[in-house]
Amino acid sequence: MRVLWTISIVSVLVICLVLGAGPGTAAPNAIVIYSGMDEYTMNVLTKAFEPMTGMKVESLILAAAGTMASRVRSEASAPRADIFLGGSVEIHEPLARDGLLVPYHAPEEASGKIPSEYIDPRGLWHGFYAGPLVIIVNRRLYEQEIKPRGGPYPQTWDDLLHPAYAGKVAAWNPATVGGGYIFLATQIFRAGSEDKGFEWLKRFDASVRVYGATGPSTIPLVVRGEAVAGVAWLDDSAEAKDNGQPLEYVIPPDTGGEIGGISIVKGGPNTDGAKRFVDFVLLKGAQDAIARFGFKYPVRTDVPIRSDFPALSSLKFVKYDRPFALQNRDRLTKKWDELIGSQRR
């Protein structure tokens, strides 16, 4: 009787192994997407794509693009995903470099409706939305803590240097957050040289209360009043505001930005289906949905932007040298840590 119990343990283990041994195949006419984009937009896109092509979309949605990229990398020996979508192209580039992506040139990319900065000449990744860095503000705290001390409502990055902001800004740690590095590089390009950029960052450091270690960390800090102002992405901020969170955002001049990327995983179960999905997200309808529900700037010039966003042409982006930024990532974050990060306490 008791022995039976033990035997059942062993059989459970054996069954596990046997069942586990079968490959986890996807349905024949389906594509698997690892998505770093928000769920709502993803659902809208899926609902449009499925009837259009007769294919089924299985997506794993986690607003953590780096984690998704790591999964793609770990699964390289037998890829489970067809599409890796979302996150800045900075995250896609290393996968491209290591040969984990399939080159593909979407017809829409040749249509002239998409500016060349969003197109990878090798066709390894495809820019499908754009989003600037913004300053987020907790209005109530601003009125209470900054205004009486003569601090300006932040319209530019330099406004955050005002002494009234000392210790009241939530920023990102460039060593741990991709956006934090884009912010760092933005300041270097804005200042015109690396030294001047770091000088600015050092002055900015006096205003910083905390360097958040993850991308989504700054918005809750500002909403809950742990900081008066902060650095964030436009799409996250606009969505939070739309959800009724007490948050305001400003797109400062000379800001930097991300190019949201989509790429096809090499050796995925359904590469042809993946190509059709890439075609799809660059179509007018999909771009419209991404702009409207995802709070992003579309890459197509013939798609209207959200009515509450300023026209992309009215925004002044800093001249962002992406190849320089990509090549010097390790050196610059280390320098930041030596000059600023490790000096804090």
Binding site: L17, P23, L60, A64, G66, S70, A78, R80, P220, V223
Partner: protein, 525 residues
């Protein structure tokens, strides 16, 4: 016996050592040297060691007091304290830390609205507090089981021989509790070492190895740096393990004698009683507040800013019911498997062949030293393709979670075995019982409850796990914690809180059912 040992060793080699090896082999030697070049990483090493010491000591102190209280038969409010002492095991750690911020942050409900204080909870102090609360249940579980197994008759005898309460505690209770306390400290230290949920939310600028590894993945998709940083955690973990073996392993602690009655535990002295009740009540209020914070967050419009009541978050949470179902299936499977594995390993490794037993034991505790993120990647690397293509199935989740929880299951059961007189086994053997028969007919009945503790701990640990599941879930079997993370990353904290509450309610219901079945003191038995 021989077969059992080899089988267990093979399983551990395959599902623990192999994935670890795959991750360790991932970064190159130069990647390891890079750490000297990064002041932030050097700081992270120091911080990790300091935090592990601080949080382990406080969590074990708290756990010991709770264990003392829970093993007293005559303490008022015991049921409440028991519930409180396991509550922190039940929710994803980031939910706890978020609630701290909500209650005690700069605009916190308590610090700001009630007391008009401006305190800074981000950083190491907040981390210390939240790790202490998060991990003291583990200490309580491990210590109280041992305290419970100290026969009251021994204390009774000591008292009869004229010892006062203090010297009874000092010379009888404390030495007998030592293996339990040591096991608890080791376990808690390993949990703190690998903890990443708390530092993620409340650590602010305070770099810790486990989170640093995760940031390298999340921020830069840099797995080599992540694997390297995570590997650095293995060294202190190995040291902890060796220390524990030196400290506990040498002595024989025999309290279940196989003869004689256990007797009733006498009344608690008044002073101790007042202290225990007061202390536990304070902690209970604190923990209660934290969970009230999560529930309030799920029922108000904007977490921490707009307190108008709403059910909108719940509507969203209920839509994610399938994810909760997946969590229950995966965690139930992992619980059964970990309990069985822990039992068999503890039996096989219980010290007959000293060297072999030590190696098996080391293998069984090793997963505790592996941060979830590390193990998640390891499983992906190891089982993605042939010879064992598990990735993409639900089994990879079950296996990863059960082996990750094996340390607790093993330590709990091993401490139980240590208290059973070998004479019982020898008697059975002499009467012709096989090793299997000894295991099932002698040890299993005596340690049934220990196995249950292992099951339940694994179950709740798996239900609330994020670090591993995040890497191993597929599009078709998303579990609730991953779903919660998706909500939190999306800044939909209210819906995240609602789903957390739902998960809490369900795991509690499951626990209540097992109470009915096993009796209410499953968790201290």
């Amino acid at each position: 016996m021989f077969m059992g040992a080899w089988g267990t060793a093979l399983l551990i080699a395959l599902f623990v050592l192999y994935p670890v090896f795959r991750v360790l082999a991932y970064p190159s030697a130069t990647d390891f040297l890079a750490v000297l070049d990064h002041p932030r990483w050097l700081r992270a090493i120091v911080n990790t060691l300091v935090m592990t010491t601080l949080s382990t000591v406080t969590a074990c102190l708290l756990g010991f007091v709770f264990a003392l209280a829970l093993t007293r038969p005559d303490l008022p409010g015991k049921g409440l304290f028991r519930t409180i002492s396991i509550l922190p095991l039940f929710s994803p750690p980031f939910a706890v830390a978020f609630s701290y911020l909500l209650l005690f942050g700069r605009l916190g409900l308590i610090t700001h609205t009630v007391f008009h204080l401006r305190v800074d909870i981000l950083g190491w102090r907040g981390l210390w507090l939240s790790q202490t609360i998060s991990f003291f249940p583990i200490a309580t579980l491990a210590i109280s089981r041992v305290l419970e197994n100290i026969p009251p008759s021994i204390e009774f005898v000591a008292r009869n021989l004229g010892a006062d309460e203090v010297s009874v505690f000092r010379t009888v209770t404390a030495p007998l509790a030592r293996p339990g306390v040591a096991a608890a400290m080791l376990l808690v230290a390993l949990y703190v070492l690998a903890d990443f949920g708390n530092p993620l939310v409340i650590g602010g600028d305070f770099p810790i190895l486990a989170t640093e590894a995760w940031y390298q993945i999340e921020g830069w998709a840099d797995q080599r740096a992540a694997a390297m940083l995570a590997s650095l955690l293995l060294l202190p973990a190995a040291l902890l393990f060796l220390l524990e073996r030196r400290w506990v392993g040498r002595r024989l602690y025999t309290t279940i004698l196989g003869r004689g009655a256990r007797g009733e535990r006498g009344p608690t002295p008044r002073g101790l009683r007042v202290f225990l009740v007061a202390f536990c009540s304070l902690v209970a209020i604190f923990v209660g507040l934290i969970y009230a914070g999560i529930v309030i967050g799920s029922l108000t419009r904007v977490w921490g800013a707009d307190w108008h009541p709403t059910l909108r978050h719940w509507a969203e949470a209920v839509k994610r019911w399938p994810h909760v179902q997946n969590s229950l299936v995966v965690s139930g499977g992992a619980g059964v498997m970990a309990a069985c594995l822990g039992f068999v390993t503890a039996y096989v490794a219980r010290g007959r062949a000293v060297a072999g037993g030590a190696i098996l034991g080391a293998g069984a505790v090793m997963p505790a030293a592996i941060p979830g993120v590390f193990l998640g990647i390891g499983y992906l690397l190891a089982f993605n393709g042939p010879p064992i293509p598990l990735a993409g199935t639900i089994w990879i989740l079950i296996l990863a979670l059960s082996f990750w929880n094996l340390p607790f299951a093993y330590k709990t059961t091993a401490a139980g075995f240590r208290q059973i007189d070998r004479a019982l086994e020898e008697a059975a053997s002499n009467l012709g019982a096989s090793w299997l028969r000894v295991l099932t007919d002698v040890y299993l009945p005596l340690l049934k409850r220990t196995a249950w503790v292992a099951f339940i701990a694994t179950f709740v640990n798996s239900v609330t796990n994020l670090s591993i599941t995040m890497f191993l879930v597929t599009a078709r079997d998303v579990v609730a914690t991953v779903s919660i993370l998706a909500l939190v990353s999306d800044n939909r904290l209210g819906a995240g809180a609602a789903l957390t509450t739902l998960l809490l309610a369900l795991t509690f219901a499951a626990l209540a059912l097992s109470f009915r079945w096993m009796g209410p003191d499953v968790l201290v038995a």
